[in-house]
Symmetry: D2
Amino acid sequence: MSGFKGLAVPGPTNMPFEVRQAMDVALEDHRAPDFPEFTLPLFADLKKAFKLENGQVFIFPSSGTGGWESAVANLLSPGDKVLASIFGQFSYLWVDMCQRFGLDVDAIDCEWGTGAPVELYEQKLAADKEHKIKAVLVTQNETATGVTSDVKAVREVLDSLGHPALLFVDGVSSICSIEFRQEEWGVDVAVSGSQKGFMLPTGLGIVGVSQKALDQRPKPGFPKCFFDFDDMIKTNKDGYFPYTPATTLLRGLRASLDMIFEEGLENVWARHHRLAEGCRRAVDAWGLTLCAKEPKWNSDTVSAIVVPEGYNANDVIQTAYKKYDLSLGAGLSKVAGKVYRIGHLGYMNEIMVLQSLAGAELAMRDAGIPFESGSGVGAAVEYYASTGQTTALAAE
Amino acid sequence: MSGFKGLAVPGPTNMPFEVRQAMDVALEDHRAPDFPEFTLPLFADLKKAFKLENGQVFIFPSSGTGGWESAVANLLSPGDKVLASIFGQFSYLWVDMCQRFGLDVDAIDCEWGTGAPVELYEQKLAADKEHKIKAVLVTQNETATGVTSDVKAVREVLDSLGHPALLFVDGVSSICSIEFRQEEWGVDVAVSGSQKGFMLPTGLGIVGVSQKALDQRPKPGFPKCFFDFDDMIKTNKDGYFPYTPATTLLRGLRASLDMIFEEGLENVWARHHRLAEGCRRAVDAWGLTLCAKEPKWNSDTVSAIVVPEGYNANDVIQTAYKKYDLSLGAGLSKVAGKVYRIGHLGYMNEIMVLQSLAGAELAMRDAGIPFESGSGVGAAVEYYASTGQTTALAAE
Amino acid sequence: MSGFKGLAVPGPTNMPFEVRQAMDVALEDHRAPDFPEFTLPLFADLKKAFKLENGQVFIFPSSGTGGWESAVANLLSPGDKVLASIFGQFSYLWVDMCQRFGLDVDAIDCEWGTGAPVELYEQKLAADKEHKIKAVLVTQNETATGVTSDVKAVREVLDSLGHPALLFVDGVSSICSIEFRQEEWGVDVAVSGSQKGFMLPTGLGIVGVSQKALDQRPKPGFPKCFFDFDDMIKTNKDGYFPYTPATTLLRGLRASLDMIFEEGLENVWARHHRLAEGCRRAVDAWGLTLCAKEPKWNSDTVSAIVVPEGYNANDVIQTAYKKYDLSLGAGLSKVAGKVYRIGHLGYMNEIMVLQSLAGAELAMRDAGIPFESGSGVGAAVEYYASTGQTTALAAE
Amino acid sequence: MSGFKGLAVPGPTNMPFEVRQAMDVALEDHRAPDFPEFTLPLFADLKKAFKLENGQVFIFPSSGTGGWESAVANLLSPGDKVLASIFGQFSYLWVDMCQRFGLDVDAIDCEWGTGAPVELYEQKLAADKEHKIKAVLVTQNETATGVTSDVKAVREVLDSLGHPALLFVDGVSSICSIEFRQEEWGVDVAVSGSQKGFMLPTGLGIVGVSQKALDQRPKPGFPKCFFDFDDMIKTNKDGYFPYTPATTLLRGLRASLDMIFEEGLENVWARHHRLAEGCRRAVDAWGLTLCAKEPKWNSDTVSAIVVPEGYNANDVIQTAYKKYDLSLGAGLSKVAGKVYRIGHLGYMNEIMVLQSLAGAELAMRDAGIPFESGSGVGAAVEYYASTGQTTALAAE
């Protein structure tokens, strides 16, 4: 078929030309004497992207899942108790991993469409007088339902209770897109991947770890080698890696960080909010609802849109993909067939969101879902035209 | 700024990844023994793209303008009389070139928004009993106004009158996008460029010449060397060129032709028609008009949209470009400030047209032009959803 | 500095344009309905590259090290006894990983420059009447010393003794370059990575596992999730992955396998042998020796060249890199400063080897090492010219 | 076949990754309001590359041949007398073009292997008391024979005689590679192309014109449009072009100029000299000779190597190409079969020249030409190792 494919899934995201080009190079020797001139500033800048001051950001040639595993394997021990909550496919999978590693997981089951239950966390932590809970897990952005949790509030609960548990955050689909301040919020582990806000291909697990967490690593903990923080610490210090790193992705990461910092991290967050809001206006104009139950849960990186009873969201997705070259995200697990998802994160501007919305209109029309053609796009156009531009916000 | 730029000008067009990649190669030796294995089939396939059976398609490392010049320099002599018509910037420039080459040009001035005046051509040709007119010039698609002329009708006039003049066609923004049949329509010279329907960067003038025209080349005619058909004929025969060819563009052309033939040339034409019609529905829904005066002049590759009195089309264009990353085409010369143009040719699908329309809505809203937000996109969505897909057409 | 850099390290290897281009694409949705049309044939073809008939080849977004870890974590249990040998940095690291996972490793220390000690393996296995040894580890190609071990012979020992231990092979720098027949040789786990014979960037651990090994996986074994074979088996079956795969690398892998099969796997092996032999002739002509102690250990993918007493191999490497844009491999650990390495694997032809040799001559001359300039290149030229071409061999 | 192809022809040259990437972008609107921010500095920097202070450098989407034609068409009139000399295929073709344009060419026939005959030029010009000679043509670097002429000396002759003829220089294979100073040497037209020292694909004719030449353009002169300096002057002034420019090549040109200026133009010249000298040492060591008759004619961008009587240079070229993936340049016209050419211009370093020499040795060995294997490479290695590095020279 003719024409560019639209990629409106919540990761992998659209890749800037600058990033693509930075990776389109001959392979290089990762033991070269000048390799550290490239890697050391990269490590430093990654910390800025996480807003982490003390501690280290590790880069594993893996994925967000690998990032999770590195956190568990390095910072916990078999049998450790952790507090978690499940409100979507990705928060579920994280809990599942913990259980498979033999942790004692207290996983609060929440309604899908809500986020991390801060009050319940508070109750559980308050009740844990012996401090058996070693880590509290929060999925900052549940990609499956388009829900954002309040990470900062969880830190405040821990602090107010004086509870020493580590705070683990799944920031795979939030970091570099939604406000995240690792140092200020006292996040001990923040896991991300290359294929979301970093605008890269999949292939890197990126894990920010606080100095506090690094200092209290259990010995021996779990067996580990590929994901061992120690090996990374020893070699990263001089700009190298314990095994062959994915150098092309590292080159792409350099380009990506350059773009993010040029725009300004806060401006990137503001842009995501504004673009997401346009999408939400469209959903409203269509007469549809989001999976997120309340505005406070709305995610600025992905919107999960509920199709009316009697319709199958997968028809929309299949039509969009096969007839109109547009990839929308499918509903996963509990919400399969009930929602389709529009990702609006990473390298993104108004006309890209409008294209996704127009394509969704086309596919919904084909699927017979009732709504007024053009109403969603029109609402977003109105919103964007009336709110000025990202760069205007940036200048404030 | 973040996000992909939208390119909605009527050329250069959007370049497929396949084409971009085909050109992203190390440079090669154009005198290599196996170079003809690449070029000879390319030459043959180019003729298919022009639907030319007898004659030759020449590839000059230049542009459409260079293609025009090659036609004049090789097929006419100083002082020759030619019949032409002006109804837009590009038909004007072609006449201007002829005059600068010392031709005796009878250029009919037509209202911008109309096309080649077949009846007037007929009158002039009928009156030319001595056959002083050596060539008749027709701009098949006037890119400046979004107007398509009826080339076939001009051939029929020539035939019915038994007039021996050559038929020259400017097909820069039509060939490979709009129906064109060089052999069947008896077109003696058809000039195109790489950056429109061929979906390539600028850099090639592509000129189809009938055997009849080749056989009656005047001697000595104009001085020429770079654009000399003779040198091309002698070297192309064996798969080579008289001077270093633009090999990367030739590699891209191979990829482009492969894509066009895989889709089917007729399907490509049908796709352009359907996509253009969606754009026209949008213009109508906005309550605006096209520069084209009647539906019969409507171009399937570009729509020139007239802004209401009291508004400046350049405001729309500037806003689209600077605030929304969308390149729209400007009005040129007589229609500067009065129209903006949306190109819908080349590598193009529904969601790309919808993106251009949505971006135009954003920019028109900013410029204060009155219309209902979403109405244009909605009309196009309705049209596309109700007409099925290109490939469905293709299967008929 | 001007000019292409030469990459003559034993991995990452030189990347073909075809592979680079296959990866230089927009990101894609790994949950798309047509994704399995791409992945299922890829999985099948990977088995051909390993010459594996029963069993499965797993692709992890990681590295060779990750591949090792997946083998240990899935196929062994804490405390299991394994038999191994150390004769270079990479065989050492593998043993180290086993120890960190709490295995009981019987690691035979061999002279660097020799390979896996088949006789000693035989003695140890014969003495293990109770079959406590669960796995025998063989590094087929020790990248640090340029030594190739006889994997087939180890299988014969196991078979002749009727010993049920699994046979684990590190094929990171051998698979797709040196003869390897997983099914025929009864190899239970073969670990490779993307950045050697597969001619890709680093980022994939590729692990071939025999059906026998899959069938006798211990439960529960080690905790695992990212590297869990089960999750892969369940999802790969339908063409998907348990978590976001590194799709760009998979696209590159497709291109790489296409190239390998077009040349013919046996022809690829023959080409590596011939190119390596030219390098060895050069070393001989220089009056130098290989780290490999006997011709039977010679590796066809990398030559480790011993500099004369009193010279530092690192001077050669630094000069080559800094003055002449050529990356040579350094000696690691025990042989640091004593050897430099020339990789001749992957995408490689005569003139690339000759360039590495000429560059090594330049750097050795700068480092003051005595030899006759041009002698090495001349010997290789003589060898290549007198032995005909790869494709000639292939036609035999 | 496996492995990178070697490109050792004297253009197209090897293209740096930086240049390739700069061109590997989406197409852009050449009428965009910010396009001049890109073009105006580019025009200014091009003048620096020509060392031209007054006047203008024009960029035509064409080739070196197109550049020649623009010079003739804009600066001369039919029947004008020009003084030229022929000593190779390209100086011949230039004369041929002049004749086809109806100029009165006094073309001195020189032995191939020599350069522009300054003394004969002096005699002819001295005898031209009426100043009928309007232009003197000098091919600075005759690519066919590897001969460099003394442009400065011709200017000195003109000045000492007070002869007003314009000085036209073919700098296609010299500019940006060999010393060239347009302003200082009083060169009125200097023609170059994109595919040599500019390290780009073919597709641009680049023409530096002195203010003096611009000021005395004849009216009406030749008919012209595509190559009209006037149209370029009018539009370039504001950063635009009279017709669609080859924007991708312009983006590549930006990258190329950045690289050249970063290295330093004088350093680039010095590097070419040193690399060429290594090649000449090799030819000497092989016992062969250059086509250039005396050292003063030696070209630093290409060496034409004479094969011994009884051998056919084309055998060397065919073998190199078909068996060893190396493109060598063929002998053209009078020297066909007698010479093969090694280009050493553009993006080039020591190991690239050594690779070409080693490949030439392989091919000559196959062709049965007697010489000692390795002797040429060895001589070049000795020369390079003993003369230190480009950057060292630059620092002097």
